[in-house]
Amino acid sequence: MSTSEIHDNPARLSPRGIVRMRRRAALHKFTRSFRHSPSGMVGLCLLGVFVVVAVAAPLVFPRSALDVTQAIANPFQPPSWDYPLGTDDSGRSVLALVVWGARISLLVGLAATVLSMVIGTTVGISSGHFRGWTGGALDRVTDWFLVIPYLPLAIVLATVLGRSMLNIIIVIGVTSWPGTARLIRAQTLSVEGRPYLERAKALGAGHYHQMTRHVLPNVTPLVLANTTLAVSISILSETTLSFLGLGDPDNVSWGSILEQGFQAGAISQGAWWYLGAPGVCVVLVVLAFNLIGRAVEGILDPRAAGR
């Protein structure tokens, strides 16, 4: 008997070890199915490219490439060998802007999604777990936020909080959680009806134990699928808010490039490269997250596959 067989023998493992092993097997099965989803893999590759670009930005272009005072090229110059994506209204390389913009757009998108997921999952599990007054109130609040139009709410919040990267993350996180909460609540309700939770309750498990040990592991796959889809929405939101001038004034993001181009009259100049490049990046990244999210959803819920 080899060592691996000893480890894989459930009889010799603690209950927690069995759980860990089962999860590992599930993860393995998941990655195998994901590899068989062509669109999911396309999305993953696309995303990989952008992550590499974002991480490597300082290696490709020095930060000074973003400095208006150090720009030497002519403004509104169409793509050429020296400037593959042309130049902006102050003669900076659009390629350098787009590469640096990837950092902020991805960072804000991911951070805002994490915030939104934490709020959404907490509210969703709590409103599904606590019946009666607490659950009802949380459900009501979710309903309110679900109905309030998202962009006006974000605009008002961003105005009050002021312009900074942290604030834009907070604004997106705080406005985009209700959809997640609704989804998680429904899943929690179905988990709550299952016998093992009855058993845990009968054995005297506290609310915290029930929610973290029994409900949370069961809603996690759903949260993950939802997360990938939510990132795409966060990135779109960041782009929109930055375009409206509510982004971080000290950093370049794809949205702020679009804002600047629009303000500088790139449309009447016909400077398609200036506006086109950051937009195409947004579309590709958002599309990548959408493709990945749909593939994950399809694996977790085969009935929904291909929707």
Binding site: V147, I148, V160, L236, L244, L258, F262, G270, G279
Partner: protein, 342 residues
């Protein structure tokens, strides 16, 4: 289950025939809408007042305001919070303070901007729903076919676009002109200055101005609607009652039209209305890009300053519009779907 002893013929009498949503259903929906509205009003009031720092500074940030205006603002904002709230509740739209930027009551500023937005959003929604639903039905019904593959991929790409970016690209291509494409459409506005909009020529002028923004919005919306409708049709396609319909000898198209579509439309309708917030967002940026002087442009205008009283009023107006539209959708749903009438 009915009791065993009851003779079958009498059991039918238990189920009364209803053709309208029940009163409880309507009342519950209306109460939910009102509670949301109250929440928005309170949220709107407290958001700008409980924030740390001087509210006056926030209200007048980055603008030269004369001493008169400051005095008025201070008079309004230094009252006790309870009194302010009462005053606010009696007229939430005025916020107790005039628009800082336009130096006029906010509703007077907002009024003329309503129609352009309604015209733009209404036309775009109408076009988008029609085409989107049709696309969704077609691709969902023959799921996995050529049409479905192409349509789903295209709609996914459109769905991933920021609508204002799409609008800017459309502007460059069709209004400014690019390469062989001449600029055929105006770059912005709703009318050519000097044209009388009450004449047929004026209507044509408005249509010519609206063509690009409406197309932009419609294309983005229809991506969303067709994805929703497609999912909905696929959900229905596996249902037993469609087997019944086929077994009856109906042609495939009739099974789809008479049975699948009416069932699939209902969930689509709720989702469409729930996504009205998204529609509003699109209107804001598109009006800004196409310089249409509607509520969206006004919002962006109020942002630079910011003109807080105006912004608050606009937020309230957008929220109220979406809440009311949702209520209407709920009531319509209750009317069309016999299952939710209780």
């Amino acid at each position: 289950m009915p009791s065993v002893g009851t003779p079958p013929a009498h059991r039918g009498s238990r189920s009364t025939v209803r053709s309208h949503p029940t009163a409880t259903y309507v009342v519950r929906r209306v109460i939910a809408a009102i509670s949301t509205l109250i929440f928005v009003v309170l949220f709107n009031f407290f958001l700008f007042r409980v924030m740390p720092g001087d509210p006056i500074a926030l209200y007048t940030k980055g603008r030269n305001v004369d001493a008169d205006q400051i005095r008025l603002l201070r008079a309004a904002l230094d009252k006790p919070l309870g009194e302010q709230l009462l005053q606010y509740l009696t007229n939430p739209f005025s916020a107790g303070v005039d628009s800082v930027k336009y130096n006029a009551p906010v509703w007077e500023v907002i009024g003329p901007h309503v129609w352009p937005t309604l015209l733009l959003v209404g036309t775009a929604t109408l076009i988008a729903t029609t085409i989107g639903v049709w696309l969704g039905i077609r691709s969902g019904w023959n799921r996995g076919g050529h049409f479905d593959k192409i349509s789903t991929n295209v709609t996914l790409v459109l769905y991933s676009m920021p609508e204002f970016w799409f609008g800017m690209i459309i502007l460059i291509v069709f209004a400014v002109g690019m390469g062989p494409v001449p600029g055929l459409f105006p770059t912005g506005g709703l009318t050519t200055p000097g044209v009388d909009t009450s004449t047929p020529a004026g209507w044509l002028d408005v249509a010519w101005h609206l063509a690009l923004p409406v197309t932009t919005l419609a294309v983005i919306y229809l991506a969303e609607y067709s994805l929703i409708m497609r999912a909905s049709i696929i959900e229905e396609a596996g249902q037993d009652y469609l087997q019944t319909a086929r077994a009856k000898g109906l042609m495939d198209a009739m099974v789809r039209r008479r049975h699948a579509v009416p069932n699939a439309l209902l969930p689509t309708m709720t989702l469409v209305f729930l996504n009205l917030g998204f529609v509003v967002g699109g209107a804001i940026t598109i009006e800004y890009v196409f310089s249409i002087s509607g509520l969206g442009s006004l919002t962006v205008d109020a942002l630079s300053g910011p003109d807080v009283p105006l912004l608050q009023a606009l937020f309230l107006l957008f929220s109220a519009a979406v809440i009311v539209a949702n209520l209407v959708a709920d009531l319509l749903y209750g009317y069309f779907d016999p299952r939710v009438r209780t």
